[in-house]
Symmetry: C2
Amino acid sequence: LSVKRPAPVLPLVTVQRASATPLYRQLREGYRAAIVERRLRPGQRLPSTRALAAELGISRIPVLQAFQQLLAEGYFESRVGAGTFVASALPQDARAGSGTGTPEPTRPGRRPVSRRSGLLPPPRVAPWLAGAGAFRMNETALEHFPFATWGRLVSRHARHPRRDQLAYGDPMGSLPFREALASYLRSARGVRCEAEQVMVVSGSQQALELTSRVLLEPGSAVWVEEPGYGGARDVLTMAGARLVPVPVDGEGLDVQAGAALFDRVRAVYVTPSHQYPLGMTMTASRRLQLLDWARRRGAWVIEDDYDSEYRYGSQPVASLQGLDRDARVVYIGTFSKVLFPALRVGYVVLPPDLVPRFAAVREAMDICPPALYQAALTDFLGDGHFARHVRKMRELYGGRRAALADALAHGLGGAPELLGDEAGLHLTLALPRGGDRQVAMRAAARGLLAMPLSSCYLGPATRQGLVLGFGGTPLDSIVPAVQRLSPLLAR
Amino acid sequence: LSVKRPAPVLPLVTVQRASATPLYRQLREGYRAAIVERRLRPGQRLPSTRALAAELGISRIPVLQAFQQLLAEGYFESRVGAGTFVASALPQDARAGSGTGTPEPTRPGRRPVSRRSGLLPPPRVAPWLAGAGAFRMNETALEHFPFATWGRLVSRHARHPRRDQLAYGDPMGSLPFREALASYLRSARGVRCEAEQVMVVSGSQQALELTSRVLLEPGSAVWVEEPGYGGARDVLTMAGARLVPVPVDGEGLDVQAGAALFDRVRAVYVTPSHQYPLGMTMTASRRLQLLDWARRRGAWVIEDDYDSEYRYGSQPVASLQGLDRDARVVYIGTFSKVLFPALRVGYVVLPPDLVPRFAAVREAMDICPPALYQAALTDFLGDGHFARHVRKMRELYGGRRAALADALAHGLGGAPELLGDEAGLHLTLALPRGGDRQVAMRAAARGLLAMPLSSCYLGPATRQGLVLGFGGTPLDSIVPAVQRLSPLLAR
């Protein structure tokens, strides 16, 4: 049915012999463009490769290569005994093109996207989080990480990997690493677990994401701490959960207040070792009360133990999970704070009956974690480097915290109210007169990245203050930074 | 209100001085257990640290440490001038315990999990995928990977990381790596893109997961190729999508058949460069037809370009994305096949208007990709190692494919029907008489991991055959493996 058109006498495509682009590719691109732009029409006859090569003054080899490929891609078709033609079945109204550059929609058309992808605003950076500066949250003393040791372990596994470290792995993670993690968590964190319950993830964020997928329906209600951690609220929001902000008092999450607010929740998200951002430790009685409530309610407890390695006044507090007799706690931890964030390694300890579902969801989500870091971390834990590093950093951060508390006491005059235990990588300076966002904005302009406490509330903020990270702020920067901060607080 | 109870004369806890567990921890654990197990009651008075140390015959220091910690955790409370007491507010019916070991639910209670987490069966391994053996899919020639070079690049970045490679990164991935990827994709794959559109992910699975989250509502209909790739169907299923299997013919996905079956779809998932599993290339006319349909329908096109670096009869086929004038194609690629799977690095090229949503969803899901591999891969691409490796492997795999095709022609007698272009890491041997699962089961018993073609169908299989991977099967294993396979096919 296609109209036979004569082969053009002059080639429609030209080639530049001096170009860095190989001749065959120039030809291929030229023909593709000519076809897509309708300069060559379906069914149109093409010159023979011999004739084209002669016409272009080039060897026949690149012409054959180009034709072979255009045939493979279906732009050309070959008819026995008749030669080569532009494929006859190109649609009449094709609007496609070729070349490089960002395509622009020719007309908008329908571009439907999911409702849930719009539940969160596009990533934006609050002024108190932009750039580098003293007191920035989520920073660690990277310069004290033992990169020589770490590099040696990573190099060894990168150069001489075991074959099973190269293929697709277990969606739960590598077993030797999970054994090392289970052993660490049992002894250092009082977590009751076997390696079979431990899943390796890319950090606490992925742990929360997986947990939400397995435990929550869209519309499930979840208790979150008020004030609390925005990253957890984001992932729960995107899972379609209804967040119930439950106030935190001096003992941690107020279970009775939560029960009075809204009791029919599927899960509760807590940071019992070091409440984010207020910094207190959930008391034993609250822990027992929470677990008891969860058992009666049939709710899950999501324990985020993000920085509990760092306590300066006492030994680390044991996990909530270790008290749980009903396998209701999903325990989440990360190496982002104890090693460094770009590592992207964390872990989640699962109630045994949830393991198959977590494994199935994880496999569909991203198959398995990368192997190299798991291998290197297994050695890092097993050879004692991790324990040494934590001990060293505990002393270092303890010094930074003390220096910050001292500087605030001296700089502000009187006794500033510092919230939180001597733990973690941040403390909160209460601002009884409020205005924490304004102070944080002015501080940001001076290179001080203090997070306003009010930004950690889902509802109206009942307290205001500045959350000051000291993990990435060296000792000798602390006094000058507080000196820059003090005048802003005096107003 | 709490009843004052006298301090016990004998300590409720004992310590073992010879134990490897430090004394303070023995004390802490002992008191925690005694409180949780109700041997010590709320409000009960504790002995003084001096008395307890004397009673136990140990130094007072570990006793002070243990008490300090039990106070911090809220198990103990201190009353000014009166001494130390078991915290008064422990709930009466607490059932919690301490110690190690896997907790068993004391009674099942409600343990609600999400419906979507049950949409996929727990990971299970079909007989034709279990263990190691010839023809296993998704394997690559790991022994030919340049680990010395790779290890050198990885070591350099692990030992001497840039500071910005250690902190939390951009949810899109590191910009230098995305620039290297964009440059590679423009020149080698005909993808029209700028670095700003490229997102680094952990592989094609995570790319599909993200794409589903951003583009699909629960219940959205999606065309998938029939037969097609199970991994993609899994992630779409878990996203709540309704899968519409659209038959694939010799030209690729049959757009007209799809439109006749069910036209109101939100997206279509295709493998146009090398259809999985049948191996043909989607023709140019079909590509234009698909893009035209997508534009008119307002549907998205998800292009999975999983192994297109490997074509042996011709140069790689340009991407479908490169023909798209309407920014409707989400282009997905991975390093799992060209480098190795455990790397967990892939990429997705986004329509520019979708970038903010993808970034927001990715940030909530797992914040950002790990830094080290991105840094090492930037060098690996930029220094030409990648291109060299692909060239070398193309020759190697081309040889394996030819040897397999030859061995099948000789071993089976006559002309076996081999489906698919000379490309990728697998070919499909058609079994006109069917019974492919039975053959695959018998083959698995002989250490041959041939995937039955019928297992790639969502509906009833219209073709049967064996999908034979040759990526991980060395040249000298191919003839013996075909000799073991042949008798099974003769029945």
